[in-house]
Subunit: 327 residues, 2 copies
């Protein structure tokens, strides 16, 4: 009777490729990783666990024919982990849910996993498990687990009237990168220019987030994924406050050489910079840079629950016009 | 100048509907739930955290025109939480990633959330957060976080030669339910019959899993989601062992009145029953029922790394023929 081992199935092959890429990288608080029904993880003493997940879908969030699979791998983890930065935490491990067309289980998958693996090492965030299936489009969902000292997480809900509002970095670059990407014929190259690079390989602001949380400097914080005009009202809503933003400061946080810098700063998405509020007594501790990263004071938190932009001495309501998949 | 509050955007509406359904249900170890960048969760003392996620995709895992949205909501959580049962743990909270067509953000969404909310209460598993987006098909990904006493989780990797193999419940019912569902015109009714009910509203075996883990009775365990013929080789592979299954016992765990009962027990998916191995010295503690749920001894773990079926005194290799999305 034939006793040969049955050939590994399609799903088994995808899982094998994932295991091979992430082999022997399990350590520390992750006791059981991929291969079992679920992962086993233990938070360090005195730490709270941070849980977040993000869609990253072909067509909706990335373009298969323009974004190199390596960049899709990097960004699928980086953008999800940005929510951990926004709480002031450290990413620890992640779950990867991956749905692939059959013709993406070879070269595309290997290149995707290389980018994902680089992000995993760069972020100190181990693969803990996930789920794979077949689909006619590439669907990715990433769950990231992080940790933060108990009681030190910075929420969206802590802003108070009088707090100063800051953003890190330069806004709108990823949006400019996306516009260039759309004009591209064929696959983009990371080396093309810095805007495209920022769109393809975002770098969440972990060090800044952790510094603000550790030193209790931010009263409220979030990351800018959909664009300031969409995200700031969310922070205000959770805090039960309003905000007044100076248009003149926005033109400084967008690219100097960009036309319509204010509009770009307000509505450009995918920057993964941090938006945070600071009590006035701590404003002198913030400065204009954190380890080379620009920090810009863009406005104030107000008691009145309206989000306004001040331009040439006049106020206008801030209309959310960032990324909204349902609009 | 017009100062009216900008209307909530589409995505905001979906999030509001979710918040409304799960309002004021946050408690215990979940300190921050939906509304922030991420959730904050703290495991109880002496507990390890279990992490798992599952796809639940229209067309691949459910049929929008045949499965009531309430059942889609129930099953999206129940099937993901089954992996927690398979480790011997308790589900605690979950993240919901939901991608919806615009025409599903009304009645469909409300009914879906009712089913999800019922499962959440039944399982003691709180909504902690998630991500929403628009898509032309309904895509669901559920991350479940559970806990288990440190060191007590039952892995797939602990089976040893000589251990006895058991399955809970009746296999193949969900598969029969699916076959009936496919013949249906229009939306199925949960009341139609018990097979369809088992397919629509699976009930993971938490009590059994926890009892086996607490009393250290199972050396290895997993849940049967793809079918015994696909899942048993995975348990064996992780344990570095083989198995010999008795065909006569399989015809007992499948429905008596089903034709091809053995084939149904081997290859029917979606049952979410538990498959577990027990050291012979503990076999007398297992019995034939656990709180009314049948437990069936179906075979043994072997040193030789082959998975075989014994029928009429002859051995044949077990060919994985359960659910495999890549086949």
């Amino acid at each position: 009777m034939a006793q040969r081992k049955p050939r590994a199935s399609g799903e088994e092959n995808v899982v094998c490729e994932i295991k091979r890429t992430f082999a022997s990288k399990r350590s520390g608080s992750l006791r059981v990783g991929i291969g079992d029904d679920a992962a086993l993880w233990q938070a360090n003493r005195g730490m709270e666990t941070i849980l977040t997940c993000d869609w990253f879908l072909e067509g909706t969030h990335f373009l298969r024919d323009k974004q190199p699979p390596d960049a899709v791998g990097w960004k699928s983890l980086a953008r999800a982990a940005s929510d951990i930065a926004a709480m002031g935490g450290k990413p620890k491990c992640f779950l990867l849910s991956l749905a692939l067309p059959a013709n993406c289980t070879g070269q595309w998958l290997r290149s995707f996993l290389r980018g994902l693996s680089r992000a995993s090492r760069a972020l100190g965030c181990q693969l803990a498990g996930g789920d794979t299936t077949r689909r006619n489009e590439i669907l990715i969902n990433t769950t990231v687990v992080g940790e933060v000292s108990a009681g030190r997480a910075v929420l969206r809900s802590g802003a108070q009237a009088g707090d100063l509002l800051y953003v890190s970095g330069t806004l709108g670059e990823a949006e400019l990168g996306l516009r260039e990407l759309r004009r591209y014929r064929g696959m983009a190259k990371a080396s093309s220019n810095s805007f495209i690079r920022k769109h393809l390989y975002p770098e969440p602001r972990f060090a800044l987030g952790q510094w603000l949380a550790k030193n209790r400097l931010a009263t409220a914080m979030m990351d800018l994924s959909d664009g300031l005009s969409s995200d700031l009202p969310r922070l205000c809503s959770e805090s039960g406050v309003g905000a007044r933003v100076k248009a003149s400061s926005l033109s400084r946080v967008a690219r100097d050489d960009a036309k319509n810098a204010t509009e770009l700063a307000l509505n450009g998405g995918d920057d993964y910079e941090l938006l945070f509020a600071v009590h006035p007594k701590n404003a002198n501790k913030i400065g204009t840079r954190f380890r080379g990263l620009p920090l810009t004071h863009i406005g104030e938190i107000t008691r009145e629950q309206k989000v306004l932009v001040e331009q040439d001495g006049r106020m206008r309501p801030l209309i959310p016009a960032g990324w909204d998949p349902f609009r």
